[in-house]
């Protein structure tokens, strides 16, 4: 298992290698990148802030929940970037391996969906004429 928070660019290839396992034939990976637009506005860059200790603890919990639901999971890799990111930069990588492919899709999707609900990381979008903390208001 690999769980990481980093202010350095994420090495996606290394994350995928960490997810591979000779006992597993299927790796599914989700890679979240910075889009150039959001809700119709042009995004210039993003700023990610993290409550590091709790974020790492919660990432570990999400990985543990995934292992309970998919006991056949052979590897789980979750790496989240923090700091200032430019368009196209990788913000998050989730990669899992399982013996059969359907489990790899389901487990990876569970992890990224749950991560977005519970892990204390916040992103502020910067536009040409202002900024917004994403999802802060109804």
């Amino acid at each position: 298992m690999t769980i990481a928070l980093t202010d350095q660019p994420i090495d996606v290839a290394a994350a995928l290698r960490a997810a591979e396992d000779p006992a597993a034939g299927a790796v599914n990976a989700f890679i979240g990148t910075i889009r150039d637009h959001s809700a119709g506005r042009r995004v210039v860059r993003l700023h990610y802030e993290s409550y590091d200790a709790m974020a790492l603890h919660q990432l570990g919990r999400v990985a543990g929940q995934a292992r309970e639901k998919w006991p056949m999971l052979t590897q789980v890799v979750i790496i989240h970037r923090k700091g200032t990111l430019e368009i196209g930069d990788v913000a998050v990588v989730v990669a899992v391996s399982t013996p059969h492919r359907a489990d790899s899709f389901a487990a990876c999707q569970f992890i990224i969906d749950t991560l977005k609900e519970v892990v204390p990381i916040w992103k502020k979008e910067e536009y040409e004429d202002g900024t917004t903390w994403v999802a802060a208001h109804p």
Binding site: E49, Y51, W122, A136
Partner: protein, 80 residues
Amino acid sequence: MEITLSLFGIAREIVGCSTLTLDAPAGQSVGELLTHLRATYPALTGLRSLALAVNNEYAQPADVLRVGDEVALIPPVSGG
């Protein structure tokens, strides 16, 4: 008892600092502290959600705070 509260994201911006030291009554609950904070910083009431974390876990309103707890105010998360 003294509670040190960590603040993040828009909650940090609303309150204006990243840590806040509060003198709370002994036995104060998570719900009571949230009510106090919303009263002191009304802009917090406009958020989609607001939670307290105690020792890296999301706390329930009835949970009682203890000296030495790591307490943080958690506005709506938006990782990923």
